[in-house]
């Protein structure tokens, strides 16, 4: 309490100092000042003090909780001793351990889901690393990432609110947060299920510009069926809710495809975990493989992380990819140490030529769906205009996974009695004709493919 009161008084003085400094420099043009680190440094000092106050609160809470029976075991104190927790986590984070080692070490920390609120109090540097730590349980990663997301939104909002103030203290990190605010807000919006089924977790959240992120619909620590949903060209967290809504459709369809069966839970991950190439004509990168190779390595790391966390109760693992996401996923599914139960490719922008058909992918089952190929612009809204263009204009990823020679199990997307046809390259269209729109033949088939029911596919 005293610490906070002193902080408030000091903060007021810091603002007054910053204001006076700004007035002095603006009225004294003869003063050449290249930098003003002491003002910024003072603000950082106050931020550290605020974090310390939060730590002290946490320890005080522990004593308060122990007050009921008049005793507080050393182990209990240890568990809530923030410095101890930070040191333990720092040791885990700094050790350079792989996912399997992290998963093995983690239980020693003694943390459970009930500690999620305490994790949110950790310093930013720890949160940033923990949130993306492969091998750590997803509840802990999500707790860290959600707190980081909220801190960055607060930072961005404060930066924008203070823009017109003469006494504002410039913060480069806050400016970056402000630039990323649309993406941060879209990720935030994707974090609620809005009363749809499936609890949401933010299982990864990067410092990239815009940030990369992955939202799990369903509990990734416990689900018996997991689907990584990989988006295609032009996707980014700037429209995270578009991808998470499409992933929700897949989640719902999987549930309906298995209704009446024993259900240990499922999870669909809206994985915006790589930088996707822009749509042409802004860039021709979609015809190359640089983005896919980089993204493939990231997806492979995510899949291996799941393998490590769930090594004692492995779920069925599926990869569902759209457009350029199929190119990206192909790199992941040829990486050493990666193997999944199924890979479903829709509207493929091309499987890399160095992969020899479905047999070259590390997946027990390979499925592929593609709507009727139509001429770009001329036949708009009557089929898929862009998947074939992506393959045909590339010199490195020209394979169509729906080609019989490729060896995948194919399914229809052009509509069937009672089921709508796909009439666009997108996963969602305003008229309900995207690959992951409800009531489409495509979505129904994806529901069966990702729940191991190939016999029920409509060709």
């Amino acid at each position: 309490m005293t610490s906070r009161a002193n902080d408030s008084a000091a903060e007021a003085k810091a603002k007054a100092l910053a204001s006076s400094w700004a007035a002095f420099t603006s009225s004294s043009t003869w003063v050449e000042v290249e930098g003003c680190t002491f003002v910024n440094g003072y603000e950082r000092f106050l931020a550290e003090n605020r974090a310390d106050a939060a730590w002290i609160d946490r320890v005080a809470d522990a004593f308060e909780r122990a007050g009921g029976d008049g005793s507080l075991l050393n182990t209990a104190i240890d568990r809530v001793n923030d410095d101890e927790l930070v040191r333990d986590l720092s040791r885990v984070l700094d050790g350079g351990a792989g996912p399997a080692e992290i998963a093995a070490i983690w239980p020693d920390l003694g943390l459970t889901r009930e500690d999620a609120t305490d994790i949110a109090l950790l310093p930013t540097s720890v949160l940033r690393a923990l949130g993306n730590l492969e091998g750590a349980p997803y509840w802990a990663r999500s707790a860290a990432n959600i707190e980081m997301l909220d801190r960055r939104i607060d930072s961005a909002t404060k930066f924008l609110d203070d823009l017109g103030r003469p006494d504002r203290i410039y913060d480069a990190a806050a400016r970056k947060d402000a630039e990323d605010l649309p993406a941060l807000e879209s990720i935030k919006a994707a974090m609620t299920n809005n009363d749809r089924k499936g609890k949401r977790s933010l299982i990864s959240f990067s410092a990239d510009h815009p940030p990369l992120a992955a939202v799990s619909i369903g509990d990734l620590d416990q689900a018996s069926n997991v689907t990584w949903a990989v988006p295609g060209m032009g996707s980014s967290t700037g429209k995270m809710t578009d991808w998470s809504d499409a992933a929700q459709n897949v989640y719902d369809q999987q549930g309906r495809a298995t209704v009446g069966r024993h259900d240990d839970g499922r999870a669909v991950v809206a994985w915006m975990g790589y930088k996707a190439p822009p749509k042409p004509p802004a860039s021709g990168q979609v015809f190359g493989t640089a983005y896919a190779e980089d993204g493939g390595a990231k997806l492979a790391a995510s899949i291996k992380g799941l393998d490590a966390v769930r090594q004692n109760d492995m779920p069925k693992v599926n990869v569902l990819a759209h457009s350029y996401g199929t190119t990206t996923a192909s790199y992941a599914l040829t990486a050493a140490g990666v193997h999944v139960d199924s890979f479903t490719a829709i509207a493929s922008a091309g499987i890399p030529d160095r992969i020899h058909g479905a047999r070259g992918l590390h997946a027990d089952m390979v499925y592929a769906g593609q709507a009727q190929v139509v001429k770009p612009f001329i036949e708009h809204w009557s089929g898929d205009e862009w998947a074939a263009v992506g393959r045909d204009l590339s010199s490195e990823h020209t394979q169509d996974p729906t080609d019989p020679d490729f060896g995948a199990t194919t399914f229809g997307a052009d509509g069937a009695p009672g089921l709508k046809s796909v009439r666009d390259h997108a996963v969602h269209t305003w008229y309900g004709g995207g690959y992951l729109d409800r009531n489409t033949e495509s979505l129904q088939n994806i529901g069966f493919a990702t729940t191991d029911q190939p016999g029920r596919l409509i060709k």
Binding site: T241, D245, V259, P281, H380, I458
Partner: protein, 165 residues
């Protein structure tokens, strides 16, 4: 790269011709405008009435929960998705028929569908009437009905963020 550029130029030429062909678009929702609460209420009532016609044992699986939709090109909106699961009946085909007749009486346009396989999933999908779409899926293992309300005006992202505050 030259080859790629030539192909892009050809596509671009086709595009210019296509862009001249104006397309008149109609809204996907139709019918009188509803507000969000009315849309939600209608889909819940419609699905509940449908499951009542099929007997006991139905439970809410999901919703009514918010979904993204479009009222037309570039016109974002919200809808409510409501899903119920129920036990399989003795005769799924007959139950599909029962549901289809019920929906037709309520002004829905219906279409039946069937999955592949020796033990196919049967279903009927309805559009129009008081909701945007509704789908009854009947397999020998269990039944489900998914209703999607009409798409109404609303900012999905803003509502989603506000609900977390």
């Amino acid at each position: 790269m030259n080859s790629i550029r030539r192909k892009l130029i050809n596509i671009g030429g086709s595009a210019a011709a296509a862009l001249l062909a104006a397309v008149v678009l109609t809204s996907c929702s139709g019918g009188p405008a509803l507000n969000a609460e009315e849309a939600k209420k209608k889909v819940v009532t419609f699905v509940d009435n449908s499951t009542d016609a099929l007997g006991d044992g139905w439970k809410v699986d999901s919703g009514p929960g918010l979904g993204k939709c479009d009222r037309g090109p570039g016109l974002g909106g919200i809808s409510y998705v409501y899903i119920k699961y129920g036990p399989a009946g003795q005769d799924p085909a007959a139950d599909v028929d029962t549901v289809e007749q019920l929906w037709k009486r309520q002004g829905m346009t219906t279409e039946r569908y069937e999955s592949g396989g020796s033990d196919p999933v049967r279903g009927v999908r309805g559009t129009g009437g008081p909701v945007g779409s509704v789908d009854f899926l009947a397999s020998s293992e269990g039944y489900s009905i998914e209703g999607d309300s009409r798409c109404v005006a609303g900012d999905f992202d803003q509502i989603s963020r506000d609900s977390q505050e």
